[in-house]
């Protein structure tokens, strides 16, 4: 990089070029006569404000090379993040969020300026936009953006009023998983999770967002499973109350679900593909089904907060995460499906298929991606009344 900035003494120097240089170097070039006094004045005029600001704020000089991100654990793993840190002589500090609401609360507490970046799931994205805690994304600053699968470039959960607010980098469906040894005919409907013949062998994810999945079974089916009226919520509650005596366990995280299959506790459940892979690695004979009613799905996006200190560095990081190193890092570390078509094309076919990246257009059509549930407090109450009362 240094050689690009050495200055030809016989050529006039633009201020743009000068600002790339260290002030000390500019000064020495002026002393040796290679920079005119006028250019020097321009240079200090250009950097003046920034320089003064950094003097006043003290820590700014350091902050220029550091990013603070609030993320799901694993999204800034040392294994791949180090490559970006070394290349940019920068550092990314991460705070792990416990849930979407945890991230929302933390960002709101700081008015969007206590973090530069957030990895938001699609149940959180709209809330961050509504609360003006994140800023619009300029895709021209992301060299890897054109390589993203079309469906993930401007999906509705990060695209509001013709403005894009996030870079979608990971996703996955919530599918139906069953033990092929004990259940010999593949189930075709989510009704299997309410089927008495599997009593005591059923598990379901312990999260109120799952109300949307069970809303798929309502007759008539709601137009939007994420916006339910009181009757529809009561209908889902009836299903869940009916289901509870059949449940062996409510699972809380993917690794725990895999363990339930490996230890022979359950035969059927909703599941995430990465948990399926874990269960299979543990020796469980399980297979996935996409029920005829459709499936729900999650998707994570990098968003830049409204108060981000160093927006350029944020773009640099996001671009890295959309590129081969970041995408492979997320895939290998978390076993989540990724969004960069070029990287997907480079994967072995069985891995591509196991995470539904083989024919995304077709799979994507069957996924009802999560979105903001405006009355989540009510959903939680219904979920708790059905599962804990």
């Amino acid at each position: 990089m240094q050689s690009d900035h050495t200055i030809d003494p016989f050529r006039t120097v633009s201020v743009d070029e000068l600002t790339q240089l260290d002030p000390a170097e500019v000064w020495s070039q002026y002393r040796s006569g290679r920079i005119s006094r006028r250019d020097l004045t321009k240079f200090f005029g250009a950097i003046g404000l920034a320089a003064m600001g950094s003097k006043l704020l003290g820590g700014q000089a350091l902050a220029a090379t550091e990013l603070n991100a609030i993320v799901w654990e694993g999204y800034t793993a040392e294994a791949f993040a180090k490559k970006w840190e070394d290349a940019n002589d920068a550092k990314i500090n991460s705070t792990f969020m416990a849930s979407s609401d945890d991230a929302f609360a933390q960002l709101q507490a700081g008015g969007g300026s206590n973090f530069d970046l957030v990895t938001a799931s699609n149940d959180l994205t709209q809330r961050l936009v509504d609360a003006k805690l994140v800023q619009e994304i300029d895709t021209s600053k992301l060299s890897n953006f054109p390589d993203l699968v079309e469906q993930f470039q401007k999906p509705p959960y990060i695209y509001f009023d013709d403005k894009l607010y996030g870079a979608n980098f990971a996703w996955g469906p919530t599918v139906l998983l069953y033990n092929t040894e004990t259940i010999t005919t593949a189930p075709t409907s989510w009704n299997a999770l309410l089927d008495e013949q599997y009593s005591g062998r059923i598990a379901t994810w312990n999260a109120p967002i799952q109300i949307a999945q069970y809303a798929l079974l309502l007759d008539p089916r709601p137009d939007d499973i994420y916006v339910l009226d009181d009757d529809q919520l009561a209908g889902v509650k009836d299903l869940l109350v009916k289901q509870r005596p059949l449940i062996r366990a409510y699972w809380n995280f993917g690794g725990e679900l895999a363990e339930l299959y490996v230890n022979g506790e359950i035969d059927i459940s909703d599941a995430w593909p990465y948990a399926t892979l874990q269960a299979q690695e543990g020796g469980a004979t399980v297979a996935e089904v996409w029920p005829e009613e459709g499936v729900t799905g999650w998707s994570d996006s990098w968003m830049i907060t409204s108060g981000a200190q160093n927006v350029d560095l944020c773009y640099s990081w996001i671009d890295f995460m959309l590129g081969p190193d970041g995408q492979m890092g997320v895939l290998e570390g978390n076993k989540y499906a990724i969004t960069n078509q070029k990287v997907i094309d480079s994967l072995p076919e069985d891995l591509r298929a196991s995470l539904y990246m083989d024919n995304i257009a077709e799979w994507y059509d069957k996924i009802l991606m999560w979105k903001n549930v405006p009355n989540m407090d009510k959903w939680l109450q219904v979920w708790q009344e059905a599962t804990a009362s």
């Binding site: 609401d101 062996r248 230890n263």
Partner: protein, 297 residues
């Protein structure tokens, strides 16, 4: 300074220097408690009287949250279940810890420190790991079921061993046991031997000595241990989530989800009130038994 001097003269109490030293010693913990405990607690309790509208907390006083807690039978039911489970776990731990503590304090002469270390040892491992260990032991194909089938005691795995109230109580009892043993050990260790000899001289048998001498003197330890075990159980939501059966949720999980999933801090804060009430009542009772002040031993 003037007042300190005046006070010390008035009361004929410690010199100003000592006084200052006392304040200096007390200040850090007092400030710590104030800033990191009392103030956050008050803020939390204030939230209970607010409400939430989509993304913003509406800072207008309302009793709506308390109305919800009283009228929706979910909350009273879960709170009562929580208190019942906590009471059962506490009783089991008293029954288990008393003989262990008595043995350690009165019978063991050699390797007492080593045995005490063994009591504390489980606390060195992550709580989550211990809860998961119970899943391995109690599971359908777990250690216990495998043994029962191997020994031909059962011919089918017992499924109620895991994901049930019983499993939850068992796990809690094991996990919190050291918190009961240690205060009991402390009081029993201080029990003067002469009192036991006196009881024997007066013709008291083992049971009478226990009931009329040992137990009353050990009561502060029992109460202190019970306070710990009871409140630890009442606030926990990991064991009910991982070990409890479907529907066996305790109030901790309900509160955590209101903060962490529904962004409904006001309702979550309001649910803290009944718990504080229970704990406060226990503290008042405990105080009467001398478990909080200098014990009567």
């Amino acid at each position: 300074m003037a007042t300190t001097v005046a006070e010390s003269k008035l009361t004929d109490q410690p010199q100003p220097g000592q006084m200052l030293r006392g304040i200096a010693l007390l200040a850090p913990p007092v400030v710590w408690m104030l800033v990191f405990y009392l103030i956050p607690l008050v803020i939390l309790l204030v939230y209970a009287f607010w409400s939430v509208d989509y993304l913003t907390v509406v800072r207008e006083l309302t009793l709506e949250n308390f109305k919800t807690i009283v009228t929706n039978d979910l909350y009273p039911r879960v709170i009562l279940r929580t208190i019942a489970i906590a009471a059962i776990v506490t009783s089991i731990d008293i029954a288990l810890a008393f003989p262990i503590a008595y043995f350690l304090a009165r019978k063991v002469t050699k390797h007492r420190e080593l045995l005490l270390m063994l009591v504390i040892f489980p606390l060195w491992s992550s709580y989550l790991v211990r809860a998961f260990a119970w899943r391995t032991i109690l599971g359908t194909n777990g250690i216990l079921n495998s043994f029962l089938q191997w020994a031909h005691i059962t011919d089918q795995p017992l499924t109620f061993l895991l994901f049930s109230k019983e499993a939850m109580v068992l796990t809690f009892s094991q996990v919190w046991l050291p918190f009961m043993i240690l205060p009991l050990y402390t009081v029993l260790d201080q029990l003067p031997k002469s009192l036991l000899e006196a009881a024997a001289d007066l013709g008291g048998n083992g049971w009478q000595t226990f009931r009329r001498v040992v137990l009353p003197l050990a009561l502060p330890g029992v109460v202190a241990g019970s306070l710990s075990v009871f409140s630890l159980t009442m606030g926990d939501y990991i064991t009910p989530t991982l070990i409890g059966g479907p529907g066996d949720q305790l109030i901790g999980k309900i509160i955590a989800d209101n903060f962490g999933t529904a962004n409904n801090w006001p309702l979550g804060a309001a649910l803290v009130f009944p718990l504080l009430l229970v704990i406060f009542t226990m503290l008042v009772v405990a105080n009467r038994f001398g478990a909080l002040g200098r014990s009567s031993v």
